[in-house]
């Protein structure tokens, strides 16, 4: 009996990688999944943060897919290494701050390292030619396999028939005839394949799993980099860009105002790292301040935060302000009026 070959499949939680893994299982390959965590993943974080989302199904789709397939899943933290991909992408950005091609190259490179360390034979992705405008094109497919170092150890079962043979095909580990030749943006071939394999439940794919493809998130990240004069970031920075209303009344500080209770609870976890404000006399939001501020700034911020409180029409709103040293004082201010808040403040 021939040796059972082992493949590591990049599992995103979407339909394509689910199908790619399933196609390999159908051919008797031992499959394990790898899921990379960049810090910019959408689903888990927003569900955890926002109270109104907390009743939604909280399943992690990558874990769910692995469980449906009956395969192991290894989640790999690439937050630190990913910074260089995002800050200096060789192939530039997509519509927003999404370095999709560099991202794919990086993930396949990490997967290549992983299979070498774990004794696996090849790498599988759910890529389909023409599916994505930047990273999944006929001319970028060889870029991913070449620059990652994976070369012909990278097999894309869903579009393999449109690509040159890879080692797993040439060596007879997998049967090329039982692979597919999908191309283009249509999801119909994948949905038909899913149906034929009896797969009915899967996450709706739309490339929306990364915050970097989101325009408003990208604007906030660019603002952060601009304000700091460099492109460095920490995990706390990118987490806080996911929550609250961000306003920048001056170049040296911005205010993050919670929009609902879940966000306020999450932001409270940062109260020792940032000066913060809370309304006292009326119901109102919790707010963090990012930047170096003086007393005049505090007054302005207090008026701004009061505007978003239930006391917005009152003559006076009382707030408590806590500085970085942990010293708290109260302020009484007249809430800012709508016309006093220039649109440019809103990031």
């Amino acid at each position: 009996m021939s040796e059972q070959r082992k493949a590591a499949v990049l599992i995103s939680g979407g339909l394509d990688s689910l199908l790619a893994a399933r196609v390999m299982l159908e051919q008797g390959i031992h499959v394990e999944g790898i899921n990379f965590f960049t810090g910019f993943c959408v689903e888990g974080h927003t569900h955890a943060i926002r109270k109104r989302d907390q009743k939604k199904d909280k399943r992690n789709n990558a874990l769910w897919v692995a469980e449906q397939l009956g395969i192991k899943l290894h989640i790999v933290d690439i937050v630190e290494e990913y910074k260089q991909v995002l800050i200096n992408p060789n192939h530039g950005y997509g519509a927003n701050l999404n370095p999709c091609l560099d991202c794919k190259v990086f993930m396949v490179r990490k997967a290549h390292e992983w299979i070498q360390a774990k004794g696996f034979d090849f790498i599988v992705t759910g890529e389909v030619i023409g599916q994505r405008p930047m990273s999944q094109r006929k001319d970028t497919m060889p870029v991913v396999s070449g620059e990652s170092g994976a070369e012909d150890l990278l097999l894309r079962p869903l579009c393999a028939k449109n690509l040159p043979e890879t080692l797993p095909e040439r060596a007879g580990w997998v049967d090329r005839e039982r692979l597919y030749g999908f191309s283009g943006r249509s999801r119909k071939p994948q949905m038909a394949l899913a149906a034929s394999l009896g797969i009915e439940d899967y996450a709706q794919p739309a490339g929306g799993c990364c915050f970097l493809t989101d325009e408003s998130y990208a604007i906030k990240l660019k603002d952060l980099w601009h304000a700091r004069g460099n492109r460095e970031y920490e995990m706390d920075d990118i987490m806080l860009l996911k929550v609250g209303r961000h306003l920048r009344p001056a170049s040296h500080f911005k205010v993050i105002i919670a929009r609902e209770e879940g966000e306020a609870n999450f932001m409270q976890g940062y109260r020792k790292l940032y000066p913060h404000l809370k309304t006292v006399s009326h119901g109102g939001p919790f707010a963090l301040i990012d930047g170096d501020i003086d007393d005049q700034d505090v007054e302005l911020i207090a008026r701004l935060v009061a505007r978003y409180s239930q006391g917005r029409n009152a003559d006076e709103v009382e707030l408590s302000f806590t500085d970085l040293a942990g010293d708290t004082r109260t302020l009484k201010v007249h809430p800012m009026q709508g016309h006093e808040i220039p649109k440019e403040w809103l990031i």
């Binding site: 974080h45 955890a48 907390q54 992690n60 874990l63 290894h74």
Partner: protein
């Protein structure tokens, strides 16, 4: 039986899962890993990860707003 406690407070999923996974990789069969989390998603994700990787959740409870999941390590020899 050894018991390793992992502080996952303020971490959002999948970070608690990654912490548990990385701890388990280094532990022998039968060890216990206790994850203390504040993200309720951990109550779903750590058991899901444990199931698919062959480990056993022996306890999952909520205590003072924290979510505590205890996993027993089951190391196999692989395929």
């Amino acid at each position: 039986m050894s018991r390793q406690i992992i502080d996952c407070r303020r971490l959002l999923c999948p970070m608690p899962v990654i912490r548990v996974q990385n701890a388990i990789e280094l532990l022998p069969d039968g060890s216990l890993v206790e994850a203390i989390c504040t993200d309720p998603g951990a109550l779903n994700d750590i058991p899901a990860w444990s199931r698919i990787n062959g480990h056993r959740v022996v306890e999952a409870r909520t205590e003072d707003g924290e979510y505590i999941i205890v996993v027993e390590v089951v190391q196999d020899s692989g395929p």
